[in-house]
């Protein structure tokens, strides 16, 4: 066999450079698996933001407290869908709950999810809205609407000072339980990747922590975005102190997140395991756009600088708002790229450390762009519906009395 034959064999797989094992040339984890950590990250981030207000009494954040909770809920409802779509056989997924497998992290995660949804989010939202449910079940015009709120109030009627105090206390306890739960929810995703020993791009104890901080970043940015956009549509004044505080938190979270990633990177560089060559090849070729350009430059550094300027510089409010909006959008792009770089990047190089493949994103089909688009848009639709039923707007500050 001569050189001609070599090029011939290479021509059969034009998307591969260097040497790939045959079972590595095509990626197994597609864009759906990128969306999944992106969504759970938003859930955890939004919830942690809400708990800041609740547990640490950051009063200026009150206007976005309920909004954060509803955001977390909307994204949480969709979060498992990409997994179900990717695995297939969704009709069997409930079996995971019937026969718990304690040695499988993935199987146990079903319980973490259920716990988080049922015990943390729904309960906290219910306790927070209970008073309003009772009120609306009496004051709303349409009989059907009144009935709905009656059902939502679960038949409770007590709005005495004591009962409201109790609601508040329980809400606070749930939030306190909720914070570690949110950490668990998203830390788990990082844990799953971090514990793949054979993959040098994933295997790192820092993974769960890096995931967590990027989750907080994305959650804050998402709530900030939603808050600004909804205020715009509702023609309501945005609370500038709240917005400033959000931007500040986003700024700090970005810095911690970026430092952690940098630490991870430097550690790898210094350790310089045999994988370092192929990983740097990958970064400078296949992942250049999504890692260097969108994740680091556009998604991290630019937002850090623009928020710093807007928040701590002497900008008029109008300018600040535009800058924050712009930064929060970029952060979303950046965090999505982060997820992309982890999930897709981890599959682009060969375990032989000698070759790289390419990910071909489909348009149609279950693992294509269209389905992904639908999955990414649905949470917003859910949020729109939820905010009709459970108006989260708290211009006046709902817990002022308690």
């Amino acid at each position: 066999m001569d050189l001609h034959a070599v090029t011939q064999a290479a021509a059969e797989m034009p998307h591969v450079t260097g040497y790939m094992y045959p079972n590595e040339a095509e990626l197994h984890w597609s864009i759906l698996i990128v969306i999944y950590p992106y969504l759970t990250g938003l859930v955890a981030g939004a919830f942690i933001l809400a708990s800041l207000e609740r547990v640490f009494n950051v009063r200026v954040l009150q206007p976005v407290y309920r909004l954060s909770l509803l955001t977390a809920l909307s994204f949480l409802l969709i979060a498992p869908l990409p997994l179900l779509a990717h695995l297939g056989k969704p009709e069997r997924s409930y079996e995971m709950f019937l026969t718990p497998h304690s040695e499988s992290a993935m199987a146990m995660f079903g319980f973490v999810y259920a716990w988080y949804l049922m015990v943390v989010l729904l309960l906290e939202i219910w306790f927070d809205y209970r008073r309003n449910f009772i009120e609306w079940s009496k004051t709303k015009k349409a009989a059907l609407t009144r009935l709905m709120y009656k059902v939502l109030s679960l038949g409770t009627t007590d709005v005495s000072e004591k009962a409201l105090k109790f609601d508040d206390k329980v809400g606070r306890i749930i939030t306190i339980i909720g914070i570690p739960s949110a950490f668990l929810l998203h830390g788990y995703v990082g844990f799953i990747f971090g514990s793949v020993k054979a993959n040098p791009w994933w295997s790192s104890v820092l993974m769960p922590i890096v995931f967590l901080f990027s989750a907080i970043v994305s959650g804050i940015a998402m709530v900030l975005l939603i808050y600004m956009v909804t205020s715009m549509f509702r023609v309501k004044e945005i609370s500038m102190p709240c917005l400033n505080r959000l931007a500040e938190l986003l700024f700090y979270a970005l810095i911690v997140d970026f430092s952690l990633e940098l630490l991870d990177f430097i550690q790898r560089l210094y350790e310089s395991e045999e994988s370092i060559h192929i990983l740097s090849d990958m970064i400078s070729s296949r992942l250049f756009i999504s890692l260097i350009v969108t994740q680091i430059m556009l998604g991290t550094l630019l937002p850090i600088f623009s928020i710093a300027m807007a928040r701590f510089g002497r900008f008029p409010d109008e300018m600040k708002r535009v800058t924050y909006l712009f930064a929060a959008l970029l952060v979303q792009l950046g965090i999505f790229s982060t997820r992309w770089n982890v999930v897709i990047g981890g599959q682009l190089f060969s375990k032989s450390l000698r070759g790289l493949t390419t990910y071909k994103l489909d348009v149609f089909g279950l693992e294509g762009i269209l389905v992904s688009g639908v999955l990414l848009i649905t949470p917003f639709i859910i949020l729109a519906v939820l905010s009709r039923i459970l108006p989260p707007w708290m211009e006046s500050g709902h817990r002022a009395s308690t």
């Binding site: 066999m1 019937l98 109790f166």
Partner: protein, 251 residues
């Protein structure tokens, strides 16, 4: 619908009912849906094992074929395919053993079939005969030239790459591209017809590299980079550090 309770806060009651109902529901569903034998041996349904064992057997095993097709068996055992079972190629033939008229096993004539095993793929072990399908007599049926039961080739392969394609390909694009395999390997004549009986040698001494790379070597190729054989690499074999078929000298 008002709920009265003296000491327990009112709102706890409906929640407690819902959660209790949920958990009871789960336990009840579990009771009905989890198969009885689940978990007996492990995290699966123990019955499944018996059910699978009770499935009809589709394969008969090669001994069954020998009774009637001993000629083919004898031919096969004399050549390269001796390690393959009849049903690897002909598919499950249990029914055929029971009734030859009713069921005839498939005869895989197509090129695609042989290519499943013999198409070039770097991950196959070195020594496994491989061809590039669109260069090896394209368009013609493999069985026209090779007897599937006795695939000894009409003439011995002309080149080591017939069976060591991966190595040959790698060498072809390496610094050692101009070197012949037998510069370093002593290959008995019969290795290309009976590779497992007549084995090729691998170099055992670093002198073989010294022929070209030694400081004052004269016998080899002039442009080979020179090293001091006495000190370079210490007491290790050269190929502990340089892969001989694709040598690199990374600093």
């Amino acid at each position: 619908m008002t709920i009265k309770a003296s000491s327990v806060p009112q709102q706890v009651i409906p929640l407690a009912i819902i959660f209790a109902a949920g958990i009871t529901g789960l336990l009840v569903i579990r009771h009905f849906l989890v198969p009885d034998t689940f978990g007996e041996h492990g995290h699966y349904r123990a019955d499944a094992v018996d059910e699978i064992a009770a499935l009809p057997v589709s394969y008969a095993g090669y001994q069954a074929c020998v009774d009637c097709h001993d000629d083919i068996f004898t031919a096969k055992q004399s050549s390269f395919h001796k390690g393959l079972s009849c049903e690897t190629c002909h598919g499950p033939a249990g029914q055929h053993v029971e009734d030859q008229d009713k069921f005839k096993p498939a005869k895989p004539h197509g090129r695609e079939f042989c290519i499943l095993c013999h198409g070039y793929n770097v991950s196959r072990p070195s020594g496994f005969p491989q061809i590039l399908p669109n260069m090896h007599n394209p368009g013609k049926a493999c069985v026209g030239c090779h007897d599937p039961h006795k695939p000894t080739t009409p003439r011995p392969p002309g080149d080591c790459s017939a069976c060591h394609a991966g190595i040959a390909n790698q060498k072809a694009v390496s610094h050692h591209t101009d070197l012949q395999c037998n510069t370093c390997h002593e290959v008995p004549k019969d290795h290309i017809t009976q590779p497992r009986l007549s084995r090729a040698e691998k170099p055992t001494s670093r002198d073989i590299c010294g022929k070209c790379h030694g400081k004052d070597a004269t016998g080899g190729i002039e442009e080979a980079p020179r090293i001091d054989m006495a000190s370079h690499g210490g007491r290790y074999m050269c190929w502990d550090c340089h892969y001989p078929h694709d040598p690199e000298a990374t600093k």
